[in-house]
Subunit: 344 residues, 2 copies
């Protein structure tokens, strides 16, 4: 349903960004990068949860020197986040970083930026020009454009762009603007979006509304929370827009005075099972509708791959749009899981 904007394609390690490649999921580590043992363990956990590209802060030469070691122990591309000191970028490229993220505005001097761009070109790795509204005075879209121009003048086109603000409307406006001005892939995110319950709302609106418009090639949900939650939220954003599938999708009503079963319990039990690793969503992107009454229940249940619409003490079970059987409420969890198992 969503028609994605055409962008250049480039590679971050083995992961392609832009063009027709799937919208990829990124996150960032929280521990000091020079603490190799701790950071590798954090990255391993993120890999398992579905993170596809990992970024680490490179604050010191020790951090930059650790990259070689980290890279050897992980399976996803490694991005070095650089600010202020261009020598950290050079060192990170030397250490095998798969991408550099920097805000050229806080690297002192054009010559220094030039040296980084030349080193990236030689190493054949892309650079993300990441301009955050908080680190720029004035129009940050204009800033980004001037940096793109600088990179292009150096005949460097392996560029990804991000324009994050902590304000959702400002973020969306900036990305919409830049999407019309160039065809470089865009890395989406709302920055400093706050604690989990706030951040999830801000990130979903910001990233989601851009994706709905076909804008965005890779995403990072920022949360003041466990980065595993960032990856889980990113997956939910992408799957709710049918851009990617990561497991059976549960459609369930909020319940109301019509509902005569414990729907929350049934939904949670089925969801728990559906989350388990044995469902390969790329092969079987199932939808499971669990509905509390006869108003929208039969409609949603029929449209889903598996569906149940409850009435008083029992439910009508549907499989692939066809009525399968009537089941009692107490057997519903078992029946739904059995059906789910036959369809994976």
């Amino acid at each position: 349903m969503i028609k994605r904007r055409k962008t250049r394609q480039l590679s971050v390690g083995a992961v392609k960004i832009g063009g027709n490649s799937p919208v990829s999921i990124q996150s960032m580590t929280k521990v000091e990068t020079s603490n190799v043992k701790a950071i590798v363990s954090e990255i391993k956990e993120l890999e398992v949860s579905g993170c596809e590209i990992i970024r680490v802060a490179v604050k010191t030469i020790k951090d930059a020197e650790a990259l070689k070691n980290i890279k050897r122990k992980i399976n996803i591309p490694l991005v070095a986040d650089i600010h202020f000191d261009y020598r950290l970028a050079l060192k990170a490229i030397e250490g095998g970083a798969d991408k550099i993220r920097l805000n050229p505005g806080n690297i002192r001097g054009r010559d220094e930026v030039t040296r980084v761009v030349k080193a990236a070109k030689k190493a054949k790795i892309p650079i993300r020009i990441g301009v955050n509204s908080g680190s720029t005075s004035g129009d940050f879209v204009k800033s980004a454009i001037s940096y793109i121009k600088l990179f292009e003048d150096l005949n460097f086109h392996d560029i990804i762009i991000s324009l994050k603000a902590s304000d959702v409307a400002k973020t969306v406006e900036a990305y919409r603007k830049i999407s019309k001005l160039c065809d470089y892939p865009l890395h989406l995110g709302v920055t400093a979006s706050g604690p989990y319950k706030y951040g999830i709302v801000k990130s979903s609106i910001g990233i989601g509304s851009l994706l709905l418009d076909g804008i965005g090639d890779t995403i990072r949900v920022s949360l003041t929370a466990d980065p595993v939650e960032e990856v889980a939220a990113a997956k939910r954003i992408l799957s709710s827009l049918s851009l990617r599938k990561f497991g059976p999708e549960i459609i369930s009503c909020p319940t109301c005075g019509r509902c005569q079963v414990d729907l929350v319990k049934i939904v949670n039990a089925v969801e728990h099972e559906a989350r388990s690793a044995k469902y390969d969503a790329r092969k079987h992107p199932l939808t499971v509708a669990i509905m509390g009454c006869e108003v929208n229940g039969p409609g949603e249940a029929r449209e889903a791959d598996i569906g149940i619409a409850f009435g008083k003490g029992c439910g009508m079970l549907f499989k692939k749009g066809k009525f399968a059987k009537k089941v009692s409420a107490k057997d519903a969890i078992t029946e739904l899981l059995q059906l789910l198992n036959t369809m994976r």
Copy 2:
């Protein structure tokens, strides 16, 4: 920043919907409506949490008869949700419902719908034409348009429209379409959006991206969860788009390898205090930025009403864009809360 679409204004009890009125927050009860004691207690809890309009399912004549009693005991407008049987609508109007929600498509017969419309007109209450994709076969925008036509033919214009689907993109597309075809206020929601962590993402994207476009006059977040969470989520959606303010907004970074303080602890402590009732957000819609390092920290801290950007073991405190003082990390919570208290 958001330019809202012009719509007609109408009243649901004391709450105005459409025109220039603020986007209002709705929820729906979960218990049987005829159980007056239980439903009033549920509504009271929702009122405290910030729900501005409450909808109840009217499934039986007993439910409809309970409305008079319920209305007497609550402070927010009461909406009767009717399906299948037009007599329930007539009874609900008689019982003092402030609005009727129905899907004319599942009320048998045009004459029956006409009787409901005439009764609503006499009682001077609006009707929400709520067409869900799950209860309609075919194009649900077309269905809504045909019902609007039917109501207009009866010279009834006190109409609110909703077009909810469980698919986010389909929902957004439907609302965008109808927003160009009429000027009736729109009630936004994504239906059957699933358990909390999924529903929050789907609802934020669906409702949020429409609001960003200026579409939407009243909202309901549907979650298979406690309805108090629906109201909290609705508040977060509206405040993240600066359409309403409900308390100080926390801007905080996700932290990374640069951060040398326990930012999550500091953010949670400040947020807890900021949530407390003593902050009247309408008078003082404060922003509080709590940032982990010197990259975007000083910028975000300076843009907020209160801000702190941490470095090694200490932070730079800003008040209204001006540097106030340097504070040690261990005093940061106390200092931030003191400042917050002086500014309310």
